[in-house]
Symmetry: C2
Subunit: 388 residues, 2 copies
């Protein structure tokens, strides 16, 4: 059940080592779950405990240090030789002994004496205390914030990764069809979400889904909230329903959002929907290699400004590998000031969320940059869905 | 859609302030999503961005600082007065400006000049960089690791919290019945998980579920892995299926695990199952107020030792509020050396996971400590489920 061929991991590791050499790093200390998965395949749902992947400038393959009970999972999901997966004992769980003291010991014993260690200072799950224990245990080393080094490698996808994203997008499309089937006046928000999760995981054809991120469904006046959880409230007549969801294959996510109206939509909402759709269409049409992220946003903004609307937040971000609660790569954003140059293989979730208060309309697509332009991976009608 | 009455939040805040006074803290800087939710109700799915709840020793209610687009969600889910929910602008997302510099500014302007600030140094989403920015921006303050101060408050549940946990347990029970219905030779692991998620969210009676943590289902030789994700592989004949799942109401989780065998079980597995069931029964029977966590584990261990088995890992932990990927309170564990005294209102997920390699058997229950002993919240037959 290893997601990619060994040659793909080898390329990724070689690219990481090139970046390490540029920064003079002897060791890259990796704790972001997606980055660990990217470089070795490890897919255990264990990142709520401390763990790390240790990539040295010299060693042939990285070392993975995880909780002892999760070592068998690494043997199933990672390409690593068994001697390169090291489990820390249970005495490091639920007590005073910190797993980072064990991991520091592994560094001393198996990684030479790294003088310059790169850490991911913006990593969720690499806690302040973990950092304190690690640095205190390795007093001879210099710790450097290596930032989003691996995240940036992940930002340009390989053909094999794009293939998973196409499948993830198929699952997302199927879930929008499921939503359209189940959204009705009087139906609980939770009941719709139950069917969405079923479709996202069961799949429709020759494959099922991996763990999808939490769908965000809201109705009525809660549609002004981009990240509110669903409730048991029934969907009301003459009210909107907004939905953002993601299909997932081997944790590669394609995001997709649509909006419903229960009844006859008011002119103001129709106009907002029309402008948002035109804005998204125009922005996607602009996508091609060589332009900057901010140029895509500018294309959107021109449509909005002409119609008298404004959106303060970014209209998209690099998307791909994600373990809950995350699916963004944490690198490029489609927003003013982002001068990232688009390259073939980059994938974005373009989310045109117009959370205006009274009228709310959300529309998104996931697209890949291709050598000749772009490929929209998701494929659901771009419209305001009207029911009842 | 606020989960509890105002009086309940007031009690929690008063208890937190008592602990703050004991440690001489002027400000408690809270970033653990469950702790934010516990003290004010905020339930936005926004914790992948930086946010904090600021509880001062003197102020009447805490301040919540979150991303600007999530402020409406706080108005729906938290009891806070509108002026106590502060949004940081979008320029702090996806660029060089760190949200913690904004949050530090809020502290300077609205929290007096706190001399001693308690931080949660083991919080998953409070990054090393965030800590660095915060401490640099408040050079006059002393930062103290307040540890699991709020987590310990959460460890003893109120009657209203127990009521949600009973409902969560009903959802978990229903999902085990769903699993038993769908687990069959030739069915994909992912297809079973799709049905589980549907049951957990849709519910069976008068309520649905909130966002449940990811079910862990494995079959065949992958049952040796406690935290491996499901696959598209079909369930094979003469193989085991292990399942750990949780029902969730307002993010209060009840955990529940069971094991299946497809065919006629071997004697070794039957004996392992029988011993594990007896061990769990014996350990639960021992639960009453006044004994220590380690005493519960000792009751289990005696049964195992007599039968010639060993389990290295803890057999349970305090459970309750959880946002993915977490549902443990991060406080008491049922393991040797844990001298936490059991009190009425404590709730544990007792998980007797026997991951032995060739034979694997997992059995768990969620129970509450009551004034007279205990109440097992989950309610599915304790057996090895045998099919076809």
């Amino acid at each position: 059940m290893i997601a990619f061929q060994r040659s793909e991991y080898s390329k990724r590791i070689a690219a990481a080592k090139t970046r390490m050499a540029e920064r003079g790093l002897d060791l890259l200390f990796i704790t972001v779950p997606e980055n660990i998965n990217y470089l070795c395949g490890y897919a255990g749902w264990s990142f709520y405990t401390h763990q790390a992947l240790l990539l040295t400038a010299q060693g042939p393959e990285p070392l993975l240090v995880i909780r002892d009970m999760d070592v068998p999972c690494a043997h199933f999901t990672a390409f690593l030789a068994h001697e390169n997966v090291i489990g820390y004992p249970e005495e490091y769980i639920g007590g005073d002994k910190h797993p980072m003291s064990f991991i520091a010991q592994v560094i001393r014993e198996r990684c030479g004496s790294p003088a310059r260690i790169g850490i991911e200072a913006e990593a969720s799950f690499f806690t302040v205390r973990a950092h304190g224990v690690l640095t205190a245990a390795l007093p001879g080393a210099q710790f450097i914030d290596s930032g989003a080094l691996v995240n940036w490698l992940r930002t340009v996808k390989s053909p094999a990764e794009i293939a998973y994203l196409r499948e993830a997008a198929q699952l997302a499309d199927a879930a929008i069809a499921t939503a359209d089937e189940h959204i009705a006046v009087g139906v609980r928000e939770s009941a719709v979400c139950a069917e969405l999760k079923r479709t996202l995981i069961k799949g429709a054809g020759s494959f099922g889904g991996s763990v999808p991120d939490n769908p965000l469904l809201a109705s009525g006046n809660r549609t002004s909230c981009p990240h509110i959880p669903w409730t048991d409230e029934p969907i009301a007549a003459n009210a909107a329903v907004t939905l953002e969801l993601g299909g997932s294959r081997f944790q590669y996510h394609a995001g997709l959002s649509r909006t419903w109206w229960m009844g006859t939509p008011k002119a103001a909402l129709l106009r907002l929907a029309e402008t948002t759709i035109e804005g998204l269409n125009t922005a996607i049409d602009a996508v091609k290699p060589g332009i900057h992220c901010e140029d895509v946003e500018a294309a959107w903004r021109r449509v909005l400004t002409r119609a008298g609307y404004e959106k303060k937040s970014r209209i998209g971000y690099s998307i791909g590998l994600g373990f809950q609660p995350n699916w963004a790569d944490g690198t490029a954003s489609l927003q003013p000031g982002d001068r990232t140059v688009l390259e073939p293989g980059m994938v974005f979730h373009m989310i045109c969320g117009m959370w205006k208060g009274d009228d709310n309309f959300v529309l998104s697509e996931t697209f890949a940059v291709t050598p000749s332009g772009h490929e929209v991976l998701t494929n659901a009608p771009r419209k305001l869905y009207v029911k009842g």
